[in-house]
């Protein structure tokens, strides 16, 4: 263990702990842009600089490990002036379009500019101008808003193991892009989007659906695979407009393409909205003939116009009819002539009720679901 004093508060921490981590344990706020607690330190943005007694120049707290007896000052007029200058330099070629930026209200850069009161910029000058030409449907890359913090590069390599992007060029022309500036070859997990501190990376499908105002956030569990990642649904006007995941949950905020971007089926116009009762009679022979005419068996060929197959019904009518038919069949052939197929997509409670209905209501153990498929 190592004893260190930060802003006159003393704490004992494990060897190898960084000054930034130790300060956060003491609830001392140090501004950061490139640092992310789940990624290796980079020391790129210089926002987290601190003074260490006996060291003539400021040090980046995110990359400096603590040492015995170290005395750290996290805020002084000199340090704050330096941080402000760093911010001004970063903002000097940043598009000032927060009004229409997707990230407004949830942007670390915007928040720091606010705290440091940066209204005008001493360094305003040349701007990086990049053409947006990414063909992928998931991730919007606005490189003019990129502050080269490198979080996306790190998360792609360290967490996802994909290495789809990296730093290219040098100096003012530095840029993060895929190899040879081609289209992204990636898994579209959106981990980079989740860790981007600015509006450089956003979800394409989020655009113009709402930002922070009038958004209800609902914590829930992803409905795709069995991993059970924790997700937060962002809802505006009864519509899920964005999915995120919190870093303090067991999946550490990481999701896959389906969990992060696969939510718009909820509002699909194809959703069933009324109970339906079949109008044309079922005839196995007719179906087989249809297929023969088609040449190839395709299930889709069996989905002709909805209106030619079904008519809309009220719930009472549909449920009464269903109950009546089930009763008839049960009466004529016994309960074992009926079966229920439940769903691994539904909740535990629905599944419990479904099997209870099949067993206690219908009187058969013919109940299963798709675990075998």
């Amino acid at each position: 263990m190592v004893k260190v004093t930060i802003d006159s508060k003393t704490i004992e921490v494990a060897e190898g702990t960084t000054v930034l981590e130790a300060a956060r344990m003491l609830n001392i706020q140090i501004p950061t842009l490139c640092h992310h607690p789940k990624l290796t330190p980079f020391g790129g943005c210089r926002m987290c600089i601190v003074e260490v007694k006996g060291v003539p120049r400021p040090l980046t707290s995110c990359t400096t490990p603590v040492s015995e007896g170290m005395e750290v000052t996290t805020s002084s007029p000199e340090i704050e002036e330096l941080r402000k200058t760093v911010l001004e330099l970063i903002l000097s070629d940043h598009p000032n379009d927060c009004m229409i930026c997707e990230k407004a209200g949830d942007c670390t850069l915007q928040e720091l500019a606010y705290f440091y009161g940066i209204k005008e910029n001493r360094f305003a000058g040349e701007r990086r101008v990049y053409e947006k030409r990414d063909g992928n449907p998931f991730i919007e890359r606005d490189m003019e808003k990129c502050i080269l913090c490198g979080r996306c590069v790190k998360v792609c390599e360290e967490v996802q193991g994909v290495e789809a992007i990296d730093f290219t060029y040098r100096g003012f022309k530095s840029k993060i892009c895929p190899p040879f500036e081609k289209d992204l070859k990636c898994e579209f997990c959106g981990q980079c989007v989740a860790v981007c501190p600015t509006g450089a990376l956003t979800g394409k499908m989020w655009a113009l659906r709402g930002r922070q105002k009038d958004i209800k956030e609902v914590d829930t569990t992803c409905a795709y695979c069995g991993t059970g990642c924790n997700i937060t649904l962002h809802v505006r006007a009864n519509e899920v407009i964005r999915v995120t995941s919190k870093e303090d949950k067991w999946n550490e905020g990481w999701l896959c393409v389906k969990g992060r971007f696969g939510y718009t089926f909820i509002n699909s116009p194809d959703r069933l909205k009324k109970p339906l009762i079949r109008i044309e009679t079922k005839d196995e022979g007719r179906r087989t003939k249809d297929e023969k005419q088609e040449g190839i068996s395709r299930p889709s060929s069996l989905v002709p116009h909805l209106s030619s197959l079904f008519r809309e019904a009220t719930w009472d009518e549909a449920l009464d009819y269903t109950a009546q038919r089930l009763k008839e069949i049960k009466g004529k052939h016994g309960p074992d002539a009926i079966a229920g197929l439940s769903s691994a997509r539904c909740t535990t409670e629905e599944n419990y009720l479904f099997q209870k209905f099949v067993r206690a209501g219908l009187g058969t153990n013919n109940i299963d679901h798709c675990a075998r498929l």
Binding site: P137, E187, V235, C256, P275, L309, L319, N365, C370, L373
Partner: protein
């Protein structure tokens, strides 16, 4: 899973067999990569060069359907090298000697002949897995979707027992479940032979308990498994089927057969959020709600009970499944009135001690792993810490049985099916996400470059793939991720549904179809 996902980080060896984890369980794969950064070694056994192979120490590219030979071969080497865990075997298992005899013929040479894996690699894998006491096995449908799927699972269990790699932190047997709540559906008793909590219907005491709880007399006869339902319908015995949120018309093998069987039913009710291929065949379609429109729990692959919260109102007249089931039940003369999902969960907890200690309030921030018998119990991360529930566990001798339909002269390729990263199962959800469709909306068959060359097939060329059951037209994707003689088709695409051609040969115990092996031929379009 006997372990939790968190524990993966502390494993020394991660043995993945029959699981394309990076595409089907991407966030679990992230955890595996984290373990690799800490020094863990990955062994992958798969006929396909799946994406995670890039991070593996050993890749065992076995012929489809030869898992038993591979696993027994590995066990053979572990025994021969004395890496078996004698104390564990003596203290906690039975039937070791008989099992030992059964694997004597599985020398690395013989195993290599059957599996096509070089014997050196079998030995290397055995030394790595057998040499660790913090080794986890991970599998999915690559193990179970075979006519000998149960054998595969038993062979895996033998391996874990032999090395004592179970019942401790960071080591165990971990089937990764493919659907959000397949664990919960099983736990809730949606199985034909058990009530909620795997309590057997053929035990009079158990039956009595449920009859009292549900105020009903319950049937004795074991029910039909899903694949048997289709069979029974086809034979004209099953007359009515009530399907909630399933799409067997795309997910069952041999679609042609499924369609005919469903067509023979007198009455088919489908409750779903979309007019799926199955719903289109129904007599009544009931509009239900999706996960964002209801409250309840999902139980994930590591037995963790987590909350699902309602975020939006359902469209039109769509209703919560709970409401629909209760209304229907009342009309059938069996009242089931609940004021909330929570009340249902409490009833389930009262009937199954593993959930008794879990309440909605306790899991409002973080889920809890069952078993959790009391309100102050923290939940159980890894199973069998205090021993196996039935005391000692037996080794099960497992013979190698080839797949039901090997490639032959007429159908010279082996087809194996599965999922890809972007689409999900029958695609009823993901195929309605425009962005996913734009990126991965087209069906394809993966074919080896050498095979493509021999057949004169160009990249993206539409070809005919057929089996004894049917044929589809599909674009060729030329790749080295499948070996010569093997083709892969993702199951999601209705316009070229893999299950038109798959075999409906079943595992004799689990009645799981052999989606992972069937014989097909490939022809150019004329």
């Amino acid at each position: 899973m006997t372990n939790t996902i968190r524990e993966i980080e502390g494993m020394e060896v991660i043995f993945i067999i029959g699981s394309n984890t990076k595409e089907t369980h991407p966030v679990i794969a992230n955890r595996m990569l984290k373990a690799v950064k800490k020094g863990a070694k990955i062994i992958i056994a798969d006929p396909r060069k799946v994406p995670l192979v890039r991070f593996s120490e050993i890749f065992l590219r076995l012929n489809p359907g030869t898992d038993v030979a591979l696993i027994n071969g590995i066990a053979h080497v572990i025994l021969k090298e004395g890496l078996n865990n004698r104390e564990f075997v003596i203290a906690r298992t039975d039937g070791f000697d008989k099992w030992k005899e059964s694997i004597e013929s599985f020398t690395p040479e013989n195993a290599s002949k059957i599996t096509g894996v070089p014997k050196e690699d079998i030995i290397k894998a055995a030394l790595l897995y057998g040499g660790s006491r913090k080794a986890g096995i991970f599998y999915t449908m690559g193990i179970t979707q075979h006519t000998h799927g149960t054998d595969n699972v038993n062979a895996i269990a033998n391996l874990a027992l032999l090395t004592g790699n179970i019942g401790k932190e960071h080591t165990g047997i971990n089937p990764l479940r493919g659907q959000n709540n397949v664990q919960g559906a099983c736990d809730a008793g949606c199985l034909p032979n058990v009530y909620p909590g795997y309590q057997r219907i053929d035990m009079p005491m158990v039956k009595k308990k449920f009859e009292e709880a549900w105020h009903a007399s319950l049937p004795d006869k074991e029910g039909l498994k899903s694949t048997e339902m289709i069979e029974s319908a086809s034979e004209g015995k099953l007359k009515a089927l009530y399907i909630m949120g399933e799409n067997p018309m795309l997910t069952d093998p041999n679609i042609e057969h499924t369609r005919k069987a469903l067509g023979k039913l007198d009455f088919l009710v489908v409750q779903d959020i979309f007019l799926t291929e199955t719903a289109a065949l129904a007599d009544v379609v009931l509009p239900a709600t999706c996960f964002a429109e209801k409250t309840g729990t999902f139980i994930n692959t590591e037995r963790k009970v987590q909350l699902v919260r309602k975020a939006v109102e359902p469209p039109g007249d769509a209703k919560e499944d709970m409401w629909i089931i209760s209304e229907l039940s009342a009309r059938m003369g069996h009242d089931m009135k609940y004021s909330s999902a929570e009340e249902v969960f409490e009833e389930l907890g009262n009937l199954w001690p593993a959930l008794s200690g879990i309440s909605y309030n306790r899991i409002r921030n973080h889920g809890i792993h069952w078993p959790c018998p009391t309100k102050d119990h923290p939940g159980t991360e890894y199973l069998y810490k205090a021993g196996f529930p039935r005391g000692r566990v037996s080794f099960t001798p497992v013979k190698y049985i080839p797949a039901a339909e090997p490639a032959d002269k007429d159908y010279p390729f082996v087809l194996t099916t599965g999922r890809n990263l972007f689409q999900y199962h029958s695609g009823s959800m993901t195929r309605r996400v425009a962005q996913i469709e734009a990126h991965a909306g087209e069906p394809y068959v993966e074919i080896n470059a050498e095979d493509a060359r021999k057949l004169g097939v160009k990249p993206d060329e539409k070809i005919k793939v057929s089996s004894r059951r049917g044929q589809i037209e599909i674009k060729a994707r030329i790749t080295d991720s499948v070996s010569e003689g093997i083709v892969f088709i993702p199951m999601h695409y209705k316009e070229a549904a893999a299950n038109v051609i798959t075999s409906d040969a079943l595992d004799p115990y689990a009645k799981t179809p052999e989606f992972k092996v069937c014989a097909v031929k490939i022809e150019k379009m004329v």
